[in-house]
Amino acid sequence: MDDVADPAARLSNEERDILHDVGFDDPAARAATGVLADREMRIAEATDPGVEILPLAEALRTYEFVQDLMFGLVSPEANEHVAMVAEHMHDPLGHFVWVKPGAKVRLPVQTFTLLETPQGRQFTHDITLIDEGAEVEMIAGSAVPGSVHKGRHISIGETYMRAGSSCRSVSIEHWGTAMEVYSYGYSRMEQGARSQSTAIMMAPVGQHVSRSHSILEADTNAVSQAIIFSPEGTDRVIETETHLTGAGARSEDMARMVSAGGRIVNNALLVGDAADTNGFLGCDGLKLNDTGEILAVPSLQAIAEGAMLSHEASVGMIDSEKLDYLMASGIEEDAARNLIVQGFLSLDNEAIPAGLRARVVDMIARAKSGGM
């Protein structure tokens, strides 16, 4: 990293603009900021003493315990992509974020990954440790410049939420239109931890496979939602697996999917490993035209007696009565469709920071019109 006092000055205007679309804000208004561009960690800086952010390589050298966190939630041999990332870890690339025990972090922590080289190959590993009793809000984004449409990105994320910690997070991705992206996320929530997460996958991408595996221990509560858009030429496969392993664990997982000609496969598995657990899976799909496909497969597996699990799933087209209703009010058909889609995706909900909502709405409009 070069030693410029203003962290934002380490980014070009174009880079700031690109990152702005996926949630970037002035580092001075953030508790911590991390920006990884290609293979270079441009920014890793905290303004809040309760947060430490380091390039992963440096974190491994600085803190011995980071070695135990790395591949602590997933085997380096878990699959060919994880193995590929593991093999590149002779020179580890990624963020290490540590929210210190008891820290009540007022401003969000933001981390971003940029792939700027056309046909680039980027393999990253991020580790997040939210320590006992800590509270934090996190914004994560991934993006490419407009000139990059092909390339490959494989990422592993391991998130540790220690007992009594709390995290609200939003992630937004904006990859290239013909890129291959593989994201693997693993998390463990210890007793009493609370999490509210929103994943926004709106921009066109060639193929995106996203797999996540979460372990919820006793008295934890996780509410997650995914907002997924797939225009023509985009293929998304989202697989989630949530294990309720301790009494009192609660989870609510909602996926809202819109296909405008692309394919979305959503396989969600909720497992009640322990008694007195409660979980819900929801998958709602909306198709905007006759091409593309949405496949929603919510699965429940109750292992312990007293695991209360439920799911709801629906897939349909835009209701013509709703469209007519808006059009009869003087709203043009495209604008009426946009309103319905935005409503369906629940973009007004409070889990998305207000400053990001307008950007996401704009992203949908551009994706639908082929302008991205």
């Binding site: 209703y325 059009m327 009869a328 043009e332 935005q342 369906f344």
Partner: protein, 236 residues
Amino acid sequence: MLEIRNLTVAIGDNVILRDIDLHLPEGELHVLLGPNGSGKSSLLATIMGLPPFEVVSGEIIFAGTPIQSLDLTERAELGIGLAYQRPPSLDGVTVRSFAAALGAVAALETEAAALDLTGFLDRDMNVGFSGGEIKRWEVLKLVLQDPRLLLFDEPESGVDLEHVIAVGDAIRRVVGAPDRSGRTCSGLVITHTGLILSHVKADRAHIIKEGRLLHSGDPHELFGHIQTEGYTIPAA
């Protein structure tokens, strides 16, 4: 303002309205009376251009323009608006975002207050609204849309007495007054109970029965006749 000539309407092969003639001059408010299933709502939906109603013959002329070949949006842009009897719920689409899409945010707060809907602005449209709230919202929707021809499908049904006054006030305030472009507005209201007649100034009423326009006359006289004689043609 609105001229309907010899209008016959069908859904598929099923004829719903036959040979309707109706003249609504600029600035006037007319009332449609008729039993359930007589075709009143179908007439409003046909004027608005809603599916599945198809004009088999005849003409609908609005402000000098034949509109039967125009689509919904074109009719709305010309200045026609409909307050639905049973509007669909729009999950996730708030009243405020709807107003923004219409470009009517500036008028929203004041008009909502007039209809006692101030607390509704961040609610999803028609989601969890009571019957009376839906009717008030539909009137507010029209006020925001600012059409020249306002079509109300039973605006007072399910509305408590206190709010019937607010609905009537809103209709009275808009119909006969200029729209934002300075053009005088007209209205066509369906009423079953007749309650709204006490709160608006209706110029003429029409009885529709079995898809035909039976008779037209003074709204209060006609409603009085219906209360004693049913939906029949009054003696001359």
